[in-house]
């Protein structure tokens, strides 16, 4: 019996060995696509019905065992993976994706700008850090990490070179609006603050609302992108409170979650800054 089985296994091995498989073409037939494309079929030598069944059984058993095991390994591997490991894996994937994005990133690639007729109704989402009332005259923008550090008034910022753009704001939820922004390019702002040349800047920028309830981190490349603005006007009017008066970030290089409203402080740093939504499971980079 076992000898019999060995013979069958040998037979299967022989069949598996491609050199022994006979390839035949399909019968000549102008109506058969297989003939036209010279498809081959691979057939074993003829054998009795019983032998065919036995060989097929062995082949299938192996296939089902290996396949079933791979399936179970996948399901239970994922299921039994400790929550920490799983989270670390997914976080590291975000970081890996970030490094791929960074490797291909170019500040020369611009987001499309639109005709004023394409501007859509503004959409409001998220009030974190905006709960308390503030008055523009009391507001100051604290800048640290470049130059001597300073507290700027909104008028000082409005005196910097003005840039306008009509770009698409994309929310990480999946919707988008087309907005007319006016403000100062972040790169112009750095120059106006007497910051160093772009290549000498620290690697990151941390921004917080005055109450520090909302905070974002940006990589220096994206924040120095020519379409990243410190905006004080939206759709032809000064920013409203809900959209981040007196000064917010506007940029088509990242999702809305990164375009912090009512900026209270800007810090240039080499340490990767904390980020509100990154701490809630979202991608820190969130780059578009």
């Amino acid at each position: 019996m076992s000898e019999d089985k060995d013979i069958i296994i040998d037979g299967v091995r022989e069949l598996e060995n491609k050199g022994d498989t006979k390839a035949r073409s399909w019968p000549d037939d102008p109506e058969n696509t297989a003939t036209a494309l010279k498809e081959f079929r691979y057939l074993s030598e003829p054998m009795s019905d019983t032998d065919a069944k036995r060989q097929m059984f062995i082949l299938s058993r192996r296939g089902f065992l290996v396949g079933g095991m791979a399936g179970l390994l996948g399901i239970f591997g994922w299921r039994w993976m400790p929550e920490d490991t799983k989270n670390a894996l997914l976080r590291r994937t975000f970081e890996f994706n970030e490094s791929v994005s960074q490797a291909f990133y170019s500040p020369k690639r611009l987001a499309p700008e639109f005709h004023p007729s394409r501007i859509t109704a503004a959409r409001y989402n998220g009030a974190m850090g905006l709960e308390t009332e503030i008055t523009a005259s009391d507001w100051r923008l604290n800048v640290t990490g470049i130059g001597g550090g300073s507290a700027l008034t909104i008028d000082q910022i409005k005196a910097m070179p003005r840039t306008e753009m009509i770009t698409e704001l994309k929310c990480i939820e999946g919707w988008s609006t087309i907005v007319h922004w006016a403000g100062v390019r972040f790169s112009d702002f750095v120059a106006a603050c007497g910051g160093p040349s772009p290549s000498e800047l620290p690697r990151y920028v941390a921004m917080k609302t005055p109450d520090e309830k909302y905070y974002v981190g940006w990589d220096i490349e994206a924040i120095m992108h020519p379409q990243t603005l410190l905006a004080y006007e939206m759709n032809g009017a000064p920013l409203t409170n809900e959209h981040g008066a007196p000064l917010r970030l506007a940029s088509p290089t990242k999702y809305g979650i990164k375009q912090i409203k009512r900026i209270g402080s800007i810090e240039f740093t080499n340490e990767r800054p904390r980020d509100y939504w990154a701490e809630n499971g979202y991608d820190w980079y969130a780059g578009l």
Binding site: L15, T33, T93, Y105, K170
Partner: protein, 231 residues
């Protein structure tokens, strides 16, 4: 009656096929977790909404609401595996010669309806075929093109600023998202038809996608033109 074992599916194809199954399922599942946050598409006839994707009961039953972050994490992890598996399949198909069994020719579009009519028991004669009939050739090639479409539209949504040329080519950000969504619906429809056809074709056919082999009646000696291909 004499039998022959026919090698139907190479080991590599079987692995890639079955690996793709959970990967596509996970891409669709995580896609749903993402889509829920801005569930705006529906099937319409003029102003009349026939079906909204998706009804509240659907989300609640599957436990989808408020899992956007998780959806993004999974989507941007499995996208790599899905894409790599798909590219590997395309490369393998071309290098191995499997494409001969899979690609349609112009005449396939004329023959495919005959296959459908035969399957529906309307036409008696079965059109000649190789491993796959012409309807299958079209379907299996289309689904690969759909996969490529999902990767391309996905990239256009993922990096609409850095790849704005691609996003613009697809009609802009919102159109790219719409296209990405409908490709997913097409995958689900493909899956439904595929499973139905496999069920109709029977156990031996299903088994061949796992073992690689099927048992066929031995051909009459004279019929097949025998050629030994260089290994």
């Amino acid at each position: 009656m004499e039998k022959q074992l026919e090698k139907k599916h190479p080991l590599a194809v079987r692995w890639m096929h079955w690996i793709n199954f959970p990967l596509l399922a996970l891409m669709i599942w995580s896609g749903l977790l993402i889509y829920w946050a801005n569930a705006i598409y529906s099937l319409r006839l003029g102003y009349y909404e026939i079906f909204h994707f998706f009804p509240p009961l659907f989300y609640e039953t599957l436990g989808i609401p408020y899992r956007l972050a998780e959806g993004l994490q999974l989507h941007f992890f499995f996208m790599w595996l899905f894409t790599i598996n798909g590219i590997a399949y395309i490369i393998y198909t071309f290098l191995s010669g499997e494409w001969r069994a899979l690609l349609p020719v112009p005449a396939s579009f004329r023959r495919a309806p005959l296959v459908a009519l035969h399957d529906a028991h309307i036409v008696k004669n079965k059109p000649p075929q190789g491993k796959y009939n012409d309807a299958q050739r079209i379907a299996y090639t289309s689904v690969i093109l759909m996969g490529a479409g999902s990767v391309i539209t996905g990239l256009a949504i993922y990096k609409p600023t850095q790849m704005s040329w691609l996003t613009s080519l697809l009609g802009g950000y919102e159109w790219a998202r719409w296209e990405h969504f409908w490709l997913t619906i097409l995958f689900v429809l493909f899956f439904a038809v595929h499973v139905f056809q496999v069920a109709m074709a029977g156990w031996a056919n299903f088994r061949s996608m796992i073992s690689g082999y099927d048992v066929v009646d031995a051909e009459k000696p004279a019929t097949p033109k025998e050629e030994v291909v260089e290994a």
